[in-house]
Symmetry: D2
Subunit: 358 residues, 4 copies
């Protein structure tokens, strides 16, 4: 059966693989100083509507988070983020390995809010040099639990960040999913116009590896961060020798000639289909009486199961356990189902059908 | 014209690319916990003749050096290495970013010697807790300037390391070239029997990316380093989500069914051909009256040129400038020519012919 | 008026100052390798009833916390501690500067509990190499809000730590106060028999500077941590050149010939008097109708005040604001009053009298 | 016999000790935010002739070096310094613990020269983001081997630093000795007018502990470094709770009312006497036929001895072994003799007399 374990289970989407094959024999300079990276960056700038944006490709998500947070912070500064964001829960102290302290809010479900941002900010600034100095916001879209930030939510965070002189960084490991989720009203152009930095993740969007880090030079702190990124990246071992591989993949994913019938670039077209499969799955599960843990239109879906059944479902389709406390006091568990560029509607049907017999 | 800039200018060797294509649609667990990585590790253990070896795939060379040096050292310990080794010259402080201090010898040309190892060791140990404690040797094979360590040189370093209770780590970003260089007498089996750790580099040996780190569990320090590697790797952002991509590539490169007519695995067959092209180039350059900077049988060749001609050669074939002081007092420069899995004898001939007209 | 700002407002207690004067002209080896440090360590071992204990003097509290936590953790490990413990709130990321990630519980009022320790432990261990590995407990006695750990509380934490194979470190910046607080039933001997490490703080107990770190060699992890401490201390710049100054001060503070009429060493005699003054102050405040924020018998007292009056009190006696949310919804603030070796009962009376007119 | 081991063997000079005694009972704010620190800073600014200088007290020499180097460098930058400077040889990787890489020159005897500065600078800048970026010069006055930098040497280093846009930091753990050494022509005023930062060391100049870091705000990088120092200091555990102790000591050492008959402040008067004793000792040793290792007028003297006699001398007066290779091929050793504020001419006579019988 098709597995719903995660969105990095398979290799590359067809157009990405084709591009890698087609360019395999080329000889190019190393470390990203090649024409493919330059062209891919240009295509991303166009998609963002920001001719001035700085774009750099970094191989993985934990890596790009550590690099970007380092770039926007001084040794004694840190990012404000929601308590269960990726850097706190799944990165083995990657930010702390850079000497930075994370300033976590108490926001539930990992959705950052302006009021918590302000509380954490005030608390730390009051400590003067005896406390870590807040320097930026970190949020991920979609979040760990699939939250798709609305434009209003994003703007409210940008507003408080502007008031407090904090940079805004949006981790977009699943940005393709977020920006194409049903009901989403945040555009790439708007994101690019207000965030200091964000990523357009490739690994979970049909590439072998690679995250595109997009940074705004429209502030002194942005310019300084941009200047720092190449050094930080090399120093941390994240400057890929055959760096053009990322350029080649993003060229394909953002190739205007490969827009689909809806006009979507391949990068977004895959995500929209993955979202549709996820929503189809959620609808099927609810129709079958299962209760969602959180509601989301992204490519991750979270549902409650009785422990025994949940175990069988996980076994069958690879869905992973998500830590959660059952408010009803029963012995239920939450499973996460993830769709990818490779998931098809018939895979969802197969799973929903199979569920009846588990 | 074919470029001799470096050995990471092209994509993947044919059998590696085929394997990536063939497995692209598979769904596997992430982060290297898949069957391909397991199988590739098994093939490497077999090639090394060490069923007990621990094998892990890490995406790049700077990364694997930082991980392995961290794994074998405590916060206040450091590696002894030759002054112009890769970590001192080309990694932007990657080792220091891990909080470790490098203890450099005065060995000329970057070839580590037992006497310098002992001198540096004694000097630091004499300082007690006021000096960084030496914990390991780092050497690269081939070295930055193409040195191929002989078995006797390697054994002498292992002997002094054993006397001083230091771990031995050999950076093998170009190990395939070293072990197949004409005149080399160090075998993979012997290396694996004495080193605490070494790498079998993939990036410069026909893969898209990836270094295989091989570690010996036959000491307490080895076991401790092995236990530490997964955590250190994740923390530093070097645990690739689609980790199976490295397993797939190494499966192909070490596939016994793909041995060539000489019985070489693809990994070594490509390197032998690259070495042969490099030696052919060196012979041609010497025949044309050019003087080598150092003599080596590996896939890098270093030659003196008058500055003007050197500039034209670099322009034509991508050869890079290597910092060197001309002992004759003239204004000469050293160029480095590098061959790869993609270099063919006719590319060398083309270059030698073209040289006459530059 | 005498200031109740903190317990490091004044210089040294009389016997400590005398000892510094008496030994000023002596010539001794540097960096703590002198007879005074050796003798002071011996006196501390005797007071602890642990002839095997390792004792080292480190100049400050933030420093000794960072050193001890580093000594007991690997790069990718961290301490479990209560959310508002000193390292999270007042050390500007000192632990993170060592590359370590702090694992905070949700315990209210900063009092660490076994159930939260276990929850945090399980959550992180479940993440395998994708999460920071818990290695130790950190707790402070008295805590930031003055909690005096009972023997039963301490034992319960030691029990869960033993079950989970975690080291136990008790930060004793205010240990003198804790161990002499009315109602305290934890003895130094018992503490020393179960903790892997603890400090007997000097800075807040009548010395110019200095914290005595006491470590148990009765485990492999303890021995390893002990071996690491001198290197870590020197590397972090915490190895005082005139290290004997700490030895001299602790010799005086733990001089058996200077026991008071109750048989208390000067170190504890000062603390008992400071505690008595603090309790006297608390009783007076309650009698005057003020409400305590938390109840404690240590040398810190926390009371609610209407904002305006609180401001005047702070102005008069140096009491500092402690962040707190008023559960009654009024605009009240919490002030912290701290007594020291220099505080006398008449100072307390003076303050209580003055309060009536503020 | 008086020991010539080092200049931190004794406690505090008389006027410093008096000041500590006189102020012991005062209650002041902690962490250096007190009137004594403010006044001491003002006295230092006056002595430097720089009303705009920023002054901060940090407890030790390794600490202040790490703080100042961190303050002037980004994560991926490093200081250029002579190969055997204190941070490379005696600090257990303190700079690397801050994540910074040291860029060492090949200057012999630890005396930094403009030509080596330029060579190291060019070599690293050529590497772009693949090499650590040079950001500052570090030199110590007097140096490890007692070199007293002349005004011309200092100016030449400042000139090349200005050309290359590098900050200049002079480690003055023994600055009092340097500025009062016979033949010295570098004034404190001139130093303060050109250096970005320097220290006026207290520990080796008659204080219990403390180094005064003096920084220039007359550049953007200086202002940025000044802003960073309090945070970095707290984060590294170097912000002393009873910080006023350093203020009190420097107030005494720089008290204009305590100038000696020559008009020297106590800080310099002690150093001049220590230098005179050292020069007296060197003259006596040369008169007795011993050969200096290096010539210096500072408070450290280095002399060759036959190994056996050297051992007896070291035993008698505490002189320490300095690593050196005997150019004559004999089995000689170098001993270092150090004088301090406590050394008197008769101590020197006693040693010279005793030497005859060893």
């Amino acid at each position: 059966m098709h597995q719903f374990r995660n969105d990095y289970s398979e290799g590359a989407a067809p157009e990405v693989l084709d591009a890698l094959l087609r360019t395999n024999g080329e000889q190019t300079p190393g470390y990203g100083a090649d024409e493919h990276c330059a062209h891919a960056a240009e295509l991303i700038r166009e998609a963002c509507g920001r001719p001035d944006a700085y774009v750099r490709f970094i191989p993985g998500g934990t890596a790009v988070n550590a690099m970007c947070i380092s770039a926007f912070t001084d040794d004694f500064e840190g990012p404000i983020l929601a308590a269960d964001a990726h850097p706190t829960a799944h990165e083995t102290g990657a930010i702390e390995a850079c000497g930075r302290r994370i300033l976590a809010t108490n926001d539930p479900f990992g959705v950052l809010t302006p009021s918590e941002v302000e509380r954490v900010y005030r608390e730390h600034v009051a400590g003067g040099c005896h406390a870590t100095r807040p320097a930026m916001l970190y949020l991920s879209n979609t979040s760990e639990l699939g939250h798709v930030y609305t434009r209003a939510e994003f703007d409210a965070l940008c507003d408080i960040a502007a008031d407090l002189n904090l940079a805004v960084y949006m981790d977009g490991a699943r940005m393709a999913s977020a920006l194409t989720a049903p009901g989403n009203d945040l555009t790439l152009e708007h994101l690019a116009s207000r965030a200091d930095a964000f990523t357009l993740g490739g690994t979970k969007a049909g590439m072998l590896f690679g995250e595109a880090l997009v940074m705004s030079p429209r502030s002194d702190r942005g310019q300084r961060a941009i200047e720092r990124i190449p050094y930080l990246t090399k120093r941390a071992g994240h400057m890929t020798a055959k760096g053009r591989l990322m350029g080649v993949q993003y060229e394909a994913a953002f190739d205007p000639d490969l827009r689909n019938e809806e006009g979507l670039l391949p990068y977004f077209a895959h995500a929209r289909r993955a979202n549709a499969c996820a929503v189809q799955l959620a609808a099927g599960l609810e129709a079958a009486g299962f209760e969602p843990y959180v509601r989301t239109n992204g490519n991750q879906q979270f549902f409650w199961f009785d422990a025994a059944l949940g175990g069988r479902v996980a076994q069958a389709c690879g869905a992973e356990l998500t830590p959660a406390v059952d408010p009803t006091g029963h012995d239920r568990i939450v499973l996460r189902f993830v769709t990818s560029w490779a998931t098809q509607p018939e895979h969802v049907e197969e799973l929903l059908t199979a569920l009846a017999d588990l």
